[in-house]
């Protein structure tokens, strides 16, 4: 069992990292031939950083649009974010990193507990919206429901471990820090943990082939990440330059 999970997570991690790297490289390499920021847009680089920050942290555009999706979506993502920070303790030995990095992670640990609930409640809200709003139902493919279900069961099994059938956290930690140093440990065999880990591995493997590409995508979206300065600075793509060379009239 421990060996199976070790292999599974090595493979999953490899697919996740390589798959995402491939996509990020593709986005970065593909030229954006025209200036198309959705205006009013920032006229400086730092303004753009701020705009993206607001999008990523507050979901600004979604907030302008529909409050219900925003509330549930934001609960889910913020919950997820805190949960993942809390999870760092399974992978990182405090001895590996300086205290000033570790301390904030230590401090949010207690909030992480509620974050798990926020995440699950958010997911349920999003799921209900997907079923009951006719417009959203119309645009949903099976995979759109399955993502929510997958994430729900990851969260649910996690909460089970925390509140119902505790698992041996110390062993889990030894096992996963062990994976990072290529030394094989033992995994506690608990049903919720097995479910949790299996689903997480599925998530990692599918991530780079799915709509979860919204995570790198948001940073590469020209309508959000471009500076509004076309008159001041000539913007030209590689392939468009070639057109200029062909004929100069």
């Amino acid at each position: 069992m421990s060996f199976f999970f070790a292999m599974l997570f090595y493979v999953a991690a490899l697919i996740l990292v390589l798959g995402l790297a491939r996509k990020i490289f593709q986005y970065a390499w593909t030229p954006a031939p025209l200036k198309i920021p959705t205006t009013p847009a920032p006229v400086t680089r730092s303004g753009v950083v701020l705009r993206l920050f607001r999008e990523v942290v507050f979901f600004e555009s979604l907030f302008k649009s529909t409050k219900w999706t925003w509330i549930f979506g934001w609960m889910f993502h913020m919950g997820l974010f805190l949960v993942l920070l809390r999870h760092l303790r399974y992978f990182v030995d405090p001895a590996w990193v300086p205290t000033w990095v570790w301390l904030p992670i230590e401090l949010i640990q207690p909030f992480g507990i509620y974050a798990g609930f926020a995440m699950v409640v958010g997911l349920i809200g999003l799921f209900l919206r997907r079923i009951f709003v006719d417009r959203v139902r119309y645009i949903s493919a099976p995979s759109d429901y399955l993502w929510l279900i997958l994430l729900f069961f990851i969260g649910f099994s996690g909460l089970m471990m925390q509140f119902v059938s505790h698992t041996d956290i110390v062993m889990v930690k030894q096992y996963f820090t062990g994976l990072l140093t290529y030394s094989q440990g033992e995994l506690p065999v608990d049903f919720p943990l097995i479910v949790h880990l299996l689903l997480v591995a599925v998530l990692m493997i599918l991530f780079p082939f799915s709509k979860l590409l919204h995570v790198p995508g948001i940073f590469f979206s020209p309508s959000r990440n471009q500076v509004d300065n076309p008159r001041e600075k000539r913007h030209i793509a590689r392939w468009a330059k070639a057109l200029d060379k062909q004929e100069t009239n």
Binding site: L62, R135, I139, K211, P222, W239
Partner: protein
């Protein structure tokens, strides 16, 4: 009320988000281009035999050339935020007019042929085979999008359906399935110099006529120069300004402002068109070819500045793309932005106090302002973000006493399209034009009833033409649409001009100073 072969939506206090009605607009497609319309633009004349492979080839080519397309095809999470933002959905209830569903028409093919999930699990992720019917569906629904970018404002990733529509139209063109309206017009620009096909002689006559009209009315010889070498400013304006109502009154306004500013300026017969329908069909090459006519004329005439007249998508191409497509403009005067909008020019003159204005000349109207989608969401005026929304209002308020905004959810960056943008301003698409105007018409009707608004000003040739046509369907009057520079024209007292009532003159001058 104009006669209609379809149900004109009724105006109520709010635009309710409709329950979806599948297939409600599936019957509507614009006329297909004649072979020569396509070949003039460098596309195959008719649908090619190997359209299947060619379509995929082009899609693959475009996603490698446009980051927007690649990212937008991948990133959508189907959150639904955009679903109730499109005026065409609100007006038709056809779910394929929801922005995300419109994108999905292309996305399902992208997924099927270019993604792992779509290749092996098509059902799971909604991927579908490319068939002949797919092309017809694209042709229909990508011509029910005015590329107004309203959806992009509300999408958490800024996914811009306009980019997808442009890509889809480019693909269709590349396999010989072009739209008559756009392609015919672009060919006219290549052959004659403008969308309307006005040759140089006709243009010169029109301008002469305008000079006579203005002189008759004001006693002042305001010139409308054409092809003048060595002029300082090249004015590029949509060709509708040369004769259509109310556009032409706007052109008179530009002429008066330029006259009072004391600058030398000229129009050009070779580049007698600000519009650039190359953008609507998503063709970089055609958009570039149209744009470079402006560069050529600027060089030939030896002008120092370029100023654009009132037009929405034209200002987008000018402001956002001209430097890219036809730059660098290092041969022009670096003290001025290239290009400049006539609104920026006029506002500058107003602030400097160079214009003598009698606001009361517009007292017979209470105005509101329609933000053109391309101006509001794809360009800027002035130095600060949002200038494109403020400056036209500043100008209107400087020349009119009575001004009210429409509901805040329908203006500024959230403005609703007039319903006729993006290459849809053609009679064969009248049904979608009328239905898509619903949100704007509703907002207008509300300020008419609540605030006594009589007229709506616009700064786009397409908006003006569209409203002129569509207002009567909703029981309103086509004359209710006016140009911003028409208002300026009404209010300007030209230097040396005798006003009708000389006794009032002193009073008005005081007002203008205040």
């Amino acid at each position: 009320m104009a006669k209609a072969k379809f149900d004109v939506p009724e105006l109520t206090e709010y635009v309710d988000v409709p329950a979806i009605a599948e297939g409600a607009m599936a019957h509507l497609s614009p006329f297909v281009a004649k072979p020569e319309n396509n070949t003039d633009l460098g596309f195959p004349g008719e649908l090619v035999d190997d359209w299947h492979d060619k379509t995929l080839e082009k899609l693959n080519d475009l996603r490698k050339r446009y980051r927007s397309l690649q990212v937008y095809l991948d990133a959508c999470v189907k959150c639904g935020s955009c679903t109730d933002k499109c005026h065409y959905f609100l007006g038709t209830a056809d779910p394929k007019n929801m922005p995300v569903a419109r994108q999905d028409l292309l996305r399902k093919v992208y997924r099927r042929y270019f993604t792992f999930a779509g290749k092996y699990f098509p059902k799971l992720v909604g991927a579908e085979d490319l068939t002949r019917e797919t092309l017809d569906e694209w042709y229909s629904y990508y011509h029910q999008c005015s590329q107004c970018r309203r959806c992009s404002v509300f999408c958490p990733y800024g996914i811009d359906t306009a980019e997808i529509s442009m890509a889809a139209r480019e693909i269709l063109d590349s396999i010989g399935y072009g739209q008559k309206y756009c392609n015919e017009i672009i060919a006219k620009v290549y052959k004659i110099g403008n969308n309307l096909g006005l040759p140089k002689g006709a243009l010169a006559d029109t301008l002469e006529g305008l000079e006579e009209d203005v002189e008759e009315e004001t006693g002042i010889a305001v010139k409308f120069p054409l092809d003048v070498k060595g002029a300082d400013i090249l004015l590029i304006t949509p060709s509708a300004d040369f004769f259509a109502e109310p556009h032409v009154d706007g052109l008179i306004g530009y002429g008066k402002v330029l006259h009072e500013a004391g600058v030398s300026w000229t129009l050009s017969s070779y580049a007698s068109e600000a519009a650039n329908f190359g953008m609507f069909i998503g063709s970089y090459e055609n958009m570039r070819r149209v744009s470079r006519r402006i560069r050529k004329v600027a060089l030939d005439l030896g002008v120092k500045r370029i100023v654009f007249g009132e037009c929405g998508h034209a200002w987008r191409v000018a402001y956002s793309f001209l430097n890219t497509l036809a730059g660098p403009f290092d041969f022009l005067d670096p003290d001025y932005p290239v290009p400049q909008h006539i609104m920026e020019f006029t506002w500058d003159q107003i602030q400097k106090g160079n214009l003598n204005i009698d606001k009361s000349a517009n007292d017979d109207m209470t105005l509101t302002f329609h933000d053109s989608c391309n101006v509001a969401r794809a360009t800027r005026m002035g130095d600060k973000p949002g200038g494109q929304i403020e400056i036209p209002r500043n100008v209107i308020k400087a020349v009119c006493n009575n001004y009210v905004d429409m509901h805040h959810e329908t203006i500024g960056e959230k403005t609703f399209c007039c319903g006729g943008g993006g290459g849809l301003l053609t009679d064969d698409l009248m049904e979608i034009r009328v239905k898509g105007a619903l949100p704007r018409m509703t907002a207008l009707k509300n300020v008419m009833e609540e605030e006594g608004v009589t007229h709506m000003a616009a700064i786009c040739a397409i908006c003006k033409s569209q409203f002129t046509k569509v207002l009567p369907y909703f029981g309103m009057d086509m004359d209710q649409i006016v140009c911003v520079h028409q208002l300026v024209s009404n209010a300007i007292i030209l230097t040396g001009q005798k006003t009708e009532d000389d006794a009032q003159e002193g009073e008005e001058a005081q007002e203008a100073e205040a």
